[in-house]
């Protein structure tokens, strides 16, 4: 047997007289148990020998008596190991709770500081979460198609819509697709059940839904053959339309709708949140082509969607389409291919539908992550001073025997507590702001439930917060180690401290720069918006209600019918109590639509190469009065300006100034391409300028023709009332339907909201930039604050010496603030330069203000410097106040 071993060393019994094992003592446990069992054998041998047995016999007998030696060894080990595991877990949990309590107490002791830390982190995490949430709902999810990766939009001749014939040809001649379908977007008039209304919808080939993998939630989608003439009186409606128009009636599948005057049977309802191709697509009818409709451009504007076959790639399919086209040329089906025409191109459906918004969102996400990084740097910096003094305490504890792992765990737990608090705030921030972001990106295809935080976003917040907590904790524990080594080596500031300070300066300056750029952008946009909306538009929008009427061409095909209809409607409108005056114009003001032909003046031909464009409108009597536009000379339209009267026109002052400088335009004869060939019209009146087409720029040269002489079917109606315009909506609708109940009317809106909407891009940009600028400002100020705290702390010894030599607290704090202001000024300077380059990108959105507006630049710069110096007051004051003796001793 082995010789005896000395008494134990490594593990001491605890106060219960128990050897305290931990799971990593596996080997020691085994040794211990072995030792005990061996001692048992030895004692047994002693007894046997005392009874007279020989040594060898005794050993053999003892061994034999002890059955299952190995199994007993293992069993004892297992018991110990399991207890060790439990002990370890218990200790860990206990220490964790200790650390959490300590962390919360530390935060509570300095609530302002804690709010700063948590707020900064929350800004970073929250802003990235907001963008991610929008990305999630707009880009990543809500694609209810089957195997969407196989779906491509086919553009055989570049970005031009295709005819149904082309679709058939490609179907037959191209082998790379398992199916090709087509659709076009169209506006429909719904009549019959319920109020007439205009909705956005689409026409689709019978196989479109099947190709996409879109199934109806009720009923079915189109079946094969339903896009042939005779079978095509069917329609598929959206969930929204089903709710709104049919009250979610489950028997809707047998009802009939009148679409553009023709009855269609509703055969199915699409699921909610089907945003194909846009949010607002509400009804689908088959894209029929009838022989007589061969020219009907509504069926010749198909977007082709194909599903790639199993072996096809986009490249191979593009080549295949090219070959098919060439084949068509050879067979004489299409004329030759012009080499200057764009080649066939296939785009993944997802990219095609969301192409516009994805890059913006990805950019925003990148920016938000950058903000997140900056926020983390700020927080690490803010914690720096705190960590350093803690580091001394922790290092001493380590030297006294607390495990290093324990201390790291404590720091990590504290940081996790901080990060968890920030996560909670971020969730709130994200929920609040993501709705705003959706509104700001309103023109994109974003479903309306984007404000509800999805699991991806929550997951992101949790994951990022965990990472931040861990990262911060580990970073801080590095300081413990460096303090340990400092204790050992008794050295002063090590090189890495100086390096860190330089890095911090750069970070702080960068934050200031970014904030300056964003703030300047926001300021320019806000001023643009104010100027746009603030300038006198030439009309008076308050008290005006606006809407459009669209008498269907089936029943209003002649000029007389249209003119009579609009006259009747205006009469009805004028009869409404509270209406002072009403008028019509054929293009809704500020709608972005414009007809601007060239103006020809009798007797004053245009010189070669010159242009003389005017905005052309057809307007009723009462239009100018309703808009509050004054008459300068001559007269406005009246009842005498009908079809058989003298052809007349009214022009704006701008036209008079430009085309008849110094002379009186009244009586002059002019014409445009909209007038019948050879017919000149006489100018009978000049009205004041009005910003009718766009708010940007002064009033434009415009010519108006009377509605009676140039009727257009769709007209915008403007009604002036002495009451609030909203109150008149119902009365207006009734008045229109009294003339003809089957004519749809667009939603009446106060004209003021139309005007506000026209300035929307500026407002949106202003808001986005403003929010981003505000966030960047907060982060930059936190950065400056943290930076100054850190450096002031680093240099505290130096300041203490200075004080000892007679410098006052004020001198010190002034010195610190001076340094901080220099830092900020550097950032501001860089920011101004960067902004000078960047504002050029705002380009067309700027109104009434130059991209390099001196006042704005100077103002923002001054504000930034002031804010930065304010941010540096507190840390400077703290150091200045500190007792020099205390500082020197530290």
């Amino acid at each position: 047997m082995t010789p005896e071993q000395p008494l134990p060393a490594a593990i001491e019994p605890d106060r219960h007289g128990r050897l305290q094992w931990y799971p990593w003592h596996r080997h020691a446990i085994r040794t211990e148990v072995e030792r005990e069992l061996r001692s048992h054998l030895l004692l047994h041998v002693d007894d046997l020998r005392a009874q007279g047995m020989s040594a060898e016999d005794a050993e053999a007998h003892a061994r034999q008596q002890f059955e299952q030696y190995a199994a007993t060894l293992t069993h004892c080990q297992e018991i110990r190991m399991s207890a060790a595991g439990k002990a370890r877990r218990g200790t860990l949990w206990h220490e964790f709770r200790q650390d959490v309590r300590f962390a919360l107490r530390t935060l509570a002791r300095r609530p302002g500081h804690a709010a700063l830390l948590i707020g900064t982190l929350a800004i970073g995490v929250g802003s990235s979460a907001v963008v991610l949430q929008t990305l999630d709902t707009a880009v990543l999810s809500v694609f209810p198609f089957r195997r969407p990766a196989e779906l491509v939009v086919v553009e055989p001749m570049g970005p031009v819509s295709q005819s149904k014939q082309m679709l058939e040809l490609l179907r037959r001649r191209s082998t790379d697709f398992t199916a090709i379908a087509g659709y076009s977007q169209w506006g429909f008039t719904l009549t019959g059940d319920g109020h007439p209304e205009e909705v956005d919808g689409g026409r689709a080939t019978a196989n479109l839904f099947e190709l996409l993998g879109l199934e109806a939630q009720l009923g079915r989608t189109f079946a094969e053959g339903e896009d042939q003439p005779g079978n095509d009186a069917v329609a598929v409606i959206s969930h929204g339309l089903w709710l709104r128009r049919f009250g979610a009636d489950s028997s809707v599948v047998s009802r009939t709708m009148e679409i553009d005057g023709r009855p269609h049977q509703v055969i199915g309802v699409l699921p909610a949140a089907t945003t194909f191709p846009t949010q607002k697509t509400e009804v689908w009818i088959p894209a029929t082509i009838e022989p007589a409709d061969a020219d009907d451009y509504s069926t010749n504007y198909l977007t082709l969607v194909g599903r790639l076959g199993p072996d096809a790639t986009i490249a191979s399919a593009e080549a295949g389409v090219n070959r098919a086209l060439e084949g068509m040329v050879v067979d004489g089906i299409i004329p030759s291919l012009n080499p200057a025409d764009p080649p066939p191109s296939l785009t993944p459906l997802r990219t095609w539908l969301l192409g516009r918004i994805r890059p913006t969102l990805l950019l925003l996400f990148g920016a938000a992550c950058a903000i997140l990084g900056l926020a983390c740097a700020n927080v690490a910096n803010l914690l720096h001073v705190q960590t350093r003094s803690r580091a001394q305490e922790l290092a001493i504890r380590a030297a006294l025997g607390a495990g290093r792992g324990r201390l790291v765990r404590q720091l990590v737990t504290e940081s996790l507590v901080l990060a968890a608090a920030a996560a909670v705030v971020s969730v709130g921030l994200a929920a609040a702001l993501s709705g705003a972001l959706v509104l700001a990106l309103a023109e994109a295809v974003v479903p309306s439930n984007a404000a509800v935080l999805g699991s991806i976003t929550i997951g992101w917040i949790i994951a990022v917060s965990l990472l931040i907590g861990l990262g911060l904790g580990l970073y801080r524990s590095r300081w413990v180690e460096s303090e340990l080594s400092i204790l050992h080596l008794r050295s002063g500031s090590s090189g890495q401290v100086v390096g860190w300070r330089r890095a911090l300066s750069i970070i702080a300056i960068t934050q200031v720069t970014v904030a300056v750029v964003l703030m300047i952008g926001a300021a320019l946009m806000v001023q643009s918006h104010r100027r746009l909306v603030g300038e006198d538009p030439g009309f008076r929008a308050e008290g005006v209600l606006s809407f459009s009427v669209a008498p269907p061409s089936a029943r209003y095909s002649t000029d007389e019918q249209q003119a009579a209809y609009h006259k009747a409607v205006l009469e009805q409108l004028l009869a409404i109590p509270g209406v002072t005056v009403a008028g019509a114009v054929h293009l809704m003001p500020l709608s972005g639509n414009n007809w601007n032909p060239t103006l020809h003046i009798e007797g004053a031909p245009l010189p070669e190469g010159a242009s003389r464009e005017v905005d052309w409108r057809s307007a009723s009597p009462g239009y100018f009065e309703t808009m509050g536009v004054g008459l300068i000379r001559g007269r406005m339209f009246d009842e005498s300006d009908h079809a058989s009267g003298m052809p007349v026109a009214v022009v704006t002052e701008a036209l008079a100034r430009r085309d008849f400088p110094g002379s009186d335009p009244i009586g002059k004869r002019v014409r445009t391409g909209f007038e019948p060939e050879g017919q000149y019209v006489t100018i009978v009146g000049v009205v004041a300028d009005m910003k009718e087409f766009t708010l940007a720029g002064p009033g434009r040269p415009a010519i108006y023709r009377p509605l009676g002489q140039m009727p257009i079917s769709t007209m915008a109606m403007m009604v002036r009332t002495s009451q609030s315009p909203d109150a008149l909506s119902d009365a207006v609708r009734e008045a229109v339907w009294r003339v003809d109940p089957e004519v749809p009317i667009s939603n009446p809106r106060p004209f003021e909201s139309v005007v506000r909407h026209a300035a929307a891009p500026q407002r949106r940009f202003g808001t986005l930039l403003g929010v981003a600028g505000a966030l960047a400002l907060v982060i930059a100020l936190v950065g400056v604050y943290g930076m100054v705290s850190y450096v002031a702390d680093q240099r505290s010894r130096e300041y203490a010496l200075r004080k000892a030599f007679g410098a006052t607290g004020r001198d010190i704090s002034l010195a610190i603030m001076q340094w901080a202001v220099t830092l900020a000024a550097a950032g501001v300077l860089a920011g101004l330069v960067a902004a000078a380059l960047a504002t050029r990108m705002l380009g067309t959105y700027l109104y009434g203000i130059a991209p390099l507006d001196l006042a704005t630049f100077a103002g923002v710069g001054a504000v930034m410097v002031l804010a930065a110096s304010l941010a540096s007051v507190r840390p400077a004051w703290r150091v200045a106040r500190a007792d020099p003796a205390h500082l020197l001793r530290a």
Binding site: H16, R18, E36, H40, L43, H75
Partner: protein, 110 residues
């Protein structure tokens, strides 16, 4: 008591009893039990030592290495106050249990 069956529980109770008056090592406990209970109570080492580990882990006994009178090193177990209390309650339970069993075994047909 720990252990799945009555036997394990009983064994631990006996071990605690053995340690009532003085600390003992495992081999000694076995000898003591045999000397007081006869050969019927010879305990398998494969049961005794795990029982001792369990008692330590549960905090009823303390352990320490020491020398026997003969100079051999051995691990001695000492009864702790919680172990003493445990012994008392286990003994009471055991007595109640055996009385009940006895009563059943002596039952006459009803």
């Amino acid at each position: 008591m720990s252990g799945g069956d009555i036997f394990t529980g009983t064994l631990e109770m006996l071990v605690l009893k053995a340690l009532c008056w003085q600390p003992m090592h495992g081999y000694g406990i076995n000898k003591w039990l045999q000397s007081h209970g006869g050969a019927t109570l010879k305990v398998n080492e494969g049961a005794l030592y795990p029982a001792l580990q369990r008692l330590v882990v549960q905090g009823y006994v303390a352990e320490a290495w020491d020398r026997t009178p003969n100079g051999r090193e051995a691990k001695f177990y000492t009864l702790l106050p919680p172990g003493r209390a445990r012994l008392t309650s286990e003994v009471r339970r055991w007595q109640e249990h055996t009385s009940a069993v006895q009563a059943v075994l002596q039952a006459a047909p009803a």
